[in-house]
C-alpha cells in the first residue's frame, strides 16, 4: 500500500469537515478550480459546489477580513494563505481583529476560523516562499498556533482546528506535504495542547515541531551510533503549549536541545528554552541549547541547506551538552572580553 501523504490527509480533513458541518466554507487564492497550488483543496469545489469552496480576489487582508465577517454571520471559514510570506498583508486583520474579537466583545463574538499557512522551507523555493512565520502568530495573544509533523496529526489537528471555537493559525510544513505514512482516515490523535514523545530516550531531550521533527528523529537515530539515547518530543501545538510533557522529559534526561527552522532571535525556540530552564533548572546538567535557522533572510535555494537546522548541527549541539560536566568553551571568550 502506498500510504497517505500529508497533503491527502489535509484534503480529507477539509472534505470531511465540510461534509460534517454545512457552516464550513473554504476559500482563498486558487483553492477552487485549481485545488490550491499544493492541491490541498483538490476536489472540494466539484464535491461541495462553488458556494462552499471558492476563489477570492487576490488580497490576503481581504480574505482574512472576509472570513472574520463570515464568522460573525455564523459560518466557519477555512482560508488558505498561498505561502507564508503572503500572509503578511493580512497581519493587521490577524493581530487586531482575528486574535482580539472574542476578547473585545467579552465573548459575544468569536472568530472560529482556520488560517492555513503552508510554511517553512526545504523545498528549494525562491524568496518569500519559505518563511517560518509561526513566532509572529504565537506571540499574538488570542491565536492558537498548530503545526503537524505527521500524516495522522495533519488530519486530526486540522479537524480539531476547524471545530475549535477560536481562531487557529494552522501552519503546514511544505516540505512534508508529500511525506506519506500508513494511516487510515478518519483518525483522532491527541488533542490540542498535548505534545507527543515521538521517540523515547534517556540521555537528552530534543524538542521540535513541524518541519523539524523529522530532523530531530533522524538526529536521534544517528546519535545512537555515538552512544546517546535521545528522546524526541513533537510539540504539535505551539499555542496552547504542553509544558508538562516537555518538563517531565527534561527532568528525566537532564539535557535539552530545541530545534526550530525559523530564524533564531525571539523565535518559538527561545520561548521553549526559556520555559524549560525556568521549570527544570535543578535537573539540568547543561544549558538548554537551540538549533535554529540563521538570523538571515531565507536564502536562495542553493544555500538553504546552510541555513536549515541539519542533523549534523543537532548532533553538534548534543555534543555540547557538557557530558563531561565541563562548561561550554564557546562562551568563554565572551566572558573574558567583558571582564573589563
Amino acid at each position: 500500500m502506498a500510504g497517505t501523504t500529508m497533503a491527502k490527509a489535509l484534503n480529507a480533513a477539509l472534505a470531511d469537515a465540510m461534509a460534517a458541518d454545512e457552516r464550513v466554507v473554504v476559500f482563498g487564492e486558487d483553492v477552487g478550480q485549481l485545488g490550491g497550488v499544493f492541491r490541498i483543496t483538490d476536489g472540494l469545489l466539484a464535491r461541495f459546489g462553488d458556494q462552499r469552496c471558492f476563489d477570492t480576489p487576490l488580497a490576503e487582508a481581504g480574505i482574512v477580513g472576509f472570513a472574520v465577517g463570515m464568522a460573525m454571520s455564523g459560518l466557519r471559514p477555512v482560508v488558505e494563505m498561498q505561502f507564508d510570506a503572503f500572509a503578511y498583508p493580512a497581519f493587521e486583520q490577524i493581530a487586531s481583529h482575528v486574535a482580539k474579537l472574542r476578547n473585545r466583545t467579552r465573548g459575544a463574538l468569536s472568530v472560529p476560523i482556520v488560517i492555513r499557512v503552508p510554511y517553512a522551507g526545504g523545498i528549494g523555493g525562491v524568496e518569500h516562499h519559505c518563511d517560518s512565520s509561526e513566532a509572529y502568530y504565537a506571540h499574538t495573544p488570542g491565536l492558537k498556533v498548530v503545526t503537524p509533523a505527521t500524516v495522522e496529526d495533519a488530519y486530526s489537528l486540522l479537524r480539531e482546528a476547524i471545530a475549535d471555537p477560536d481562531p487557529v493559525v494552522f501552519m503546514e510544513p511544505k516540505k512534508l506535504y508529500f511525506a506519506s505514512d500508513q494511516v487510515s482516515l478518519p483518525v483522532t490523535a491527541e488533542p490540542f495542547g498535548r505534545a507527543v514523545v515521538r521517540r523515547p530516550g534517556r540521555d537528552a531531550t530534543l524538542v521540535a515541531y513541524g518541519p523539524s521533527v523529522p530532523v530531530a528523529l533522524e538526529a536521534a537515530e544517528a546519535a545512537r551510533e555515538e552512544g546517546w539515547d535521545l528522546e524526541v518530543i513533537d510539540c504539535r501545538t505551539i499555542v496552547p503549549f504542553d509544558d508538562e510533557t516537555i518538563s517531565a522529559s527534561v527532568r528525566r534526561t537532564g539535557r535539552c536541545v530545541v530545534i526550530q527552522e525559523a530564524q533564531s532571535f525571539a523565535g518559538v525556540g527561545a520561548e521553549i528554552a526559556a520555559r524549560v530552564q525556568e521549570r527544570c533548572f535543578h535537573s539540568l546538567h547543561a544549558p538548554v541549547l537551540r538549533v535554529s535557522g540563521l538570523d538571515i533572510p531565507y536564502p536562495a535555494p542553493m544555500l538553504e541547506h546552510t541555513h536549515l537546522p541539519s542533523v549534523d548541527r543537532v548532533l553538534d549541539a548534543v555534543a555540547r551538552l557538557q557530558w563531561d560536566d565541563q562548561p561550554d568553551r564557546r562562551w568563554l571568550p565572551a566572558l573574558e572580553g567583558s571582564a573589563a
Partner: protein, 397 residues
Amino acid sequence: MTTTPQAVRRASPRTRRAVTPPDPARALLPSLEPVRMIDEQGNRLPERSDYPEPSADALRELYRRMVIGRRFDLQATTLTKQGRLAVYPSSRGQEACQVGAMLAVRPTDWVFPTYRESMALVSRDIDPVEVLTLLRGDWHCGYDPAARRTAPQCTPLATQTVHAAGVAYGEAYQGHDTVALAFIGDGATSEGDFHEGVNFAAVFKAPVVFFVQNNRYAISVPLSRQTAAPSLAYKGVGYGVPSEQVDGNDPVAVLAVLNRAVAHARAGNGPFLVEAHTYRMEPHTNADDASRYRDGAEVDAWRDRDPIARLAAYLRHLGVLDDGAEAGIAAEAEAYAADLRARMNVQPTVDPLSLFDHVFAEPTPQLVEQREQVRAELAADAEQAADERDAHERGAR
C-alpha cells in the same frame, strides 16, 4: 527602406465601429454635484425622480434623533472634562449622517461603526452607557454586538469594510436579506483595506452600503492629502460599484440617498458607495487642538450649514414641527443627557481576573497559570491590606 505609417493599406471599413458603444461608467459614477434636497435655509430644492423624498414622519423622527444625538455628543464631551471618559471623538456637525444612516437600516441589518459613530449607535437605541464603555476604559466594547447586530466600534482604520463584506456575504449565503452598512471616514479610504473591502463586496455582489463621511479631515490632514480624485464617490466605478455623493449636511438628501443605497443592496444588486460631504465641527477628539491646522473662519462657514437647524426649518415649512414640538424634543434630549450623566457618575467596577476570561473560549494552561499568579497577588494584597487595617485599628485602640 523607412516608409511612413501613412503609406499603409487601411483596414477595411467593416472593421471600423460606426456607433460609439454605451459608456459602462455612466451607471456607476455619482451625480456631478452632491445630491441636495433642501438648501441651507431649509428650503426645498427641485425634486429628483431618482431619490424619493422620505416621508414627513420619517423626517420628523430623523430630526428628533438628531437633536438627542447632538445632546448626547455634547454630554460625552463634557464627561471627558470631568474625567469620566478617557477621550471622546465628537461627531457634532455630522448628525445628518450619523442618524440618517441608522434610520436607513433595519434592526436586523448589520452596522459597522468606527470610533466616530457613538452618536449613530445611540440613534440605533443602544444604551449610551454601553456605547461609551470603550472610552470609559473598563472593557473594549460595552454592548452585545451579536444581539445588536452592530460590530464593536472599529479603530484600525478601514478594516471594518472587509468585515462588512464578509457578514453581508455570509448572511446572503444563509438566505437572509440582511444588508451591512459600513461607516468609514475620508482619511480611511486611503487604506488598502478599503480597496479590498469594496472589491470583495463587488465581486461577490454582497449587499453592503459603504458610507463615507467625508468630513474634510483625518485628524489634521486635509482631504487634499487623501485624494486627487474629483471626489471620493468616484472610487466606486473602479470596482463596478454604483456610487453617489450627497450633501452630508442635508438630512433629507442623506436619508433619501441612503434609503436608495440600502434598497439597492437588499434587492440583490450588490454594494453601493455613498459619499457624504460634511464637516467635523469639533477637534478630532477632545484631546486634539484643531487650531493648529484649521482656522475659525472655515469652521464658521460650516456652522451656517448646520444640519439640525436646516431640517428644523424644513419641518416647520412642512408643518410637522412647531415651537411646542421642538421644545418637547429638546426636553427629551435634556432628560436623556441627565440620565446619562447620572449613570456615568457611577464608577464601574472591574474584576482583574476577568482579563483571562475571553482570550479563548477555554483558557490555555499558560493562561490558567498566569491567572493563578494574579489571583495569588490579589489575595496577598488583600491580606496585606487587611493586616494594615488591623494594625491601624489596633493602633487606634
